[in-house]
Symmetry: D2
Subunit: 336 residues, 4 copies
């Protein structure tokens, strides 16, 4: 039996725990061997659960020779620096999205990775969801013919705390960035963006300088067009749908439901709302994502989500923000 | 332009009105030219609406030389006698189901029709519904392979008045007879029946000597099996579904809905109940049925629902009743 | 019994025939009494079918004292002039959409109608479709709370002939105009439009100066946002859906299907495509539309689709075209 | 932290592996500490995977004082004897269905368990599936009112090997037994059964003395009726649905799908078939089942699936077989 890939975890918050659990339960050929988190209690919790060394200093992970790959699950502002140091230490890197809110810092990090020749994969988990994968396959198979229209619905069940909103980078960088990635994943490169948005859910979000509702129009390099609609609050749950329309047909995916029941009563037919929580909705996708990262490292395959795949949605988010501010379509070449 | 087929209507009640309306609106090459109903007001209402002669004596219709075909929409106990007289008068006949509750009377009527050489079509309207026709086509195309299992769900939204129950001939003869016809239409001849039933909806139905809920198992001549479930009261509306399963797949049809909306709220997703009323559900089918009758007469085609198609479900209903009473499977050859 | 409303039909083409048929079959208190069409054969066909006077001169209809109301179903460029003359003749007016492609001609026509005090109803048939009405009711009931996002999908099964494209007024004026009306019907007044579009279906459409695929973003006066997507060719049929999202929930409608069957085979589950043809999809709505017009005239009720309702979508279409040409959002106040 | 419940696994085949995996990944407060299987390789495989002692003798498990509870996952003919010995050894018992094919052996085993006062849970995994649980909850809540009709569809994707068929105990004891349990779970005690069946899938199944297709009618103690339909081969996958109808409404569950996509093309709309494999369909339910067993042992709760729940479906299966053989309804009191 091959030796397992030894992974160091940096950031023991919600998403760090998810990845640790995925590796323990679903990824046979990898194991978490060390963990660090700036909050000592968080690091300790995971350390004790998996019986591995833990500390409040991420450098401990990077300096551990046993660690061959790291997961960067800390706050966004630390990603670029950690990538640079990890690359220097020769560790393969899985980094949560977004890489950074600043293009020059992203570029510095990507350069460091390239120079070091380590693997880098960005955590766009939805690419590993079976529904979105089926859409991708259907498009790639040619079944819809030439792509014409892409419609992405992406709505959260409830807004995050205002404290989070303030450091989130804004709706486009925090939430729509997944949709920008999905747009590229399905229809290819984006050339121009027009964004409109407003504060319809909670005035406090506006006071924090952000919006909570938006519609974004995309123009793709291949001539296709797309639209994304976002809301910070869909009272019926986490609403994640896609529709891809082309010359030969359309493929759509619906939401996942907790069960398939329907009740037929005198007042109508009642069935389930979509799953409410993103972890519930994408738990399986997170597992597949980790498996894909380990597979790319262990078997020396190309990264399924490259550094460029991490950079491009940031550029689109910046263009969208500029479009919103200036109320005009913005070409991506205006950014960077 | 060809002359229109002149039709006489006997029975100006609910179903008679439906057929008159279908002919006026949807059947270009036919027209109602005379109407009779034992209730003079009913006859008058239709007579005045269409500006045609009316009376309270069905013989007036049969003796009218201008009448080439008749619709028998009067009460079941009059069907056989009217068929015999209409055949003698050389009129083509459309007769509502069931022909009669007595096999010897049915046979006498069918013999009279045969001797006279007139067309006879029995009013099993569901055969003309686009949903059931699609099931039939799918089975006939071989898509499901060899037929194995047939499941018919047939539930009324609310029971009829007890006064009607008393003269209805019982659940099997009044309501299930449509399902027995559908079973034959889709899977062919039935050889054996086992019926179980009870009074679960309204004790008054039991006091009237009938049941209101039933499950019937069918064995077909081709080795397939089927099940029918009936209720006199589905609070969510008129429930009419079929599922046909075979060696190569399954075809199912669902209920028709008044509209396609779904509301997603914090308490779930609410959509429409099935159409409540059978006339609403099958209005289109009634129109196609009349068109088929006129077509078979005008273009001298075989009847799409023959006298034998009218007799066979009566035999099944009698076997089902015997099965219920004796709590054992009953072969159809035990009847008649 | 009340006397029937006597209606004159101007324009005996496809839509004129539909309205004549609706009135004959579904509107008890009205009748077509005279017809005119510039093509004598078209006028004659309807005239003979309903046994009424016909001519190739619409003035014959306007000068007939028996005619109390008229249906303007002729080509768009004749609408305004006919409205003015009909108003002068004291006839109530039903006019197909769009009123005209020119705002000053529209305004002249609306002024003439107002001065004459006759009823005017514009033919936005989708407002009378049971699906869209259910969405309207759900929004009006407050069930979705404050309106936030509106998504209209509107795709034709196949493009019209290039000869038609050339005189159509363009995609926005010919096809999206229905969606602009639907947007107003559901979410109220529009303030700003951003349109993007392309020629993805057929280069000949581009050569004719039009586009065949578009996404339009709408900003409403109430702060809500909307998106419309159009294609001249959805190979799976006529795609007409709406989704209205608000603070308390979402309501959506799906397409109507020819039947409800699903086939489960080894290769997947196959069910029906949407109805292909707009007349099939909206036949019932056309009937309800005519009934509503007759009701408003006979019972002196307000018009359910006013002249202003006919003018506003034209303004939106003009703004959309300007937006497409200048690649920037256009406020409606820039128009007219 | 509480000490984990130490579990011994007897039977290291397919279902034994599933339970071991569930405990490792999903049940925090239990662990497999020893394994035995008559096939030494099977025992070794699991033993090495979890680094625990293994042998080919189940008595090794029963004699291990560290083992507090056992999972009986060996062949059916060994269940009763192992239960008796495990009870004597004071081990809590989880036993796969069916307990045995012989009522006297079942009764002996249940008596031994009762005398020993150990916990016993029978492995009817579907009771732990979220879909079936939702149906149960809906019925229990009173939402459907008085239960009237129960319809269970239960079809395998493909028949097992003939060698398995021969020792399976027959369709009713091997496959329908899950449906008999589900019927009791949802509607309560069964009083009478009528079964019809045939060999429609594969003649070799008939030659092995079994049937492959069946319809069973149930009469419940509460007056309700039910029907189960079974096939050994649904080419579209594992078909597991339930419909419960009552005086106030109906609740139904549909199949689980691998993803939610639908492709709209010129030939129709194609979506996913049900999950094909029962382990895939019920993997989550198996995990919940193990968690429920551990919970009942660790927290001294009543068993969620008692010995009587294991015995009753065997009685129904025997009655169904007798009904099939004698072609008559059979009361359960005729058995045992």
């Amino acid at each position: 039996m091959t030796q397992k890939l030894s992974i160091g975890l940096i950031g023991a918050g919600r998403i760090g725990k998810v990845h640790a659990q995925s590796i323990a339960n679903q990824v046979a050929d990898a194991e978490i061997v060390r963990v660090a988190d700036a909050l000592p209690d968080a690091a300790a919790a995971i350390g004790q659960q998996y019986n591995i060394p833990f500390s409040d200093n991420y450098k401990d992970v990077l300096q551990d020779d046993a660690v061959k790959a790291i997961l960067i699950c800390s706050s966004t502002d630390t990603h670029a620096q950690m990538m640079i140091e990890a690359a220097a230490a020769g560790k393969h890197i899985f980094c949560e999205k977004p890489i950074d809110h600043d293009l020059s810092r992203i570029d510095a990090a990507l350069s460091a990775v390239e120079r070091a020749g380590v693997k880098l994969m960005i955590g766009f988990n939805r690419r590993f969801d079976l529904n979105f994968q089926k859409v991708k396959e259907t498009i790639s198979s040619g079944a819809i013919g030439e792509p014409h229209l892409l419609k992405i619905t992406s709505r959260d069940p409830a807004p995050p705390p205002i404290s989070y909103i303030k450091v989130s980078g804004g709706l486009f960088m925090d939430m729509t960035i997944h949709d920008f990635d999905m747009a590229r994943f399905l229809f290819g490169e984006v050339e121009e963006v027009f964004a409109t948005g407003g504060v319809l859910v909670d005035p406090a979000i506006g006071e924090a300088g952000d919006i909570d509702t938006a519609i974004i129009t995309l123009k793709f390099a291949n001539g296709a067009m797309g639209t994304i609609d976002n809301s910070r609050q869909a009272v019926y749950g986490y609403d994640q749908r896609v529709e891809a329309f082309g010359s030969e047909g359309m493929v759509e995916i619906k939401n996942n439901l907790p069960n398939t029941h329907a009740f037929y009563g005198a007042d109508g037919v009642v069935s389930e709302k979509p799953l409410y929580f993103f972890l519930e909705r994408y738990m399986d996708a997170y597992g597949r994502e980790m498996a894909a990262f380990v597979d790319c490292v262990v078997h020396d395959k190309p990264s399924p989500v490259t550094g460029q795949d991490g950079r491009a949605p940031v550029v689109i988010a910046m263009a969208a923000l500029k479009s919103l501010q200036e109320n005009r379509p913005v070409k991506l070449i205006e950014i960077s």
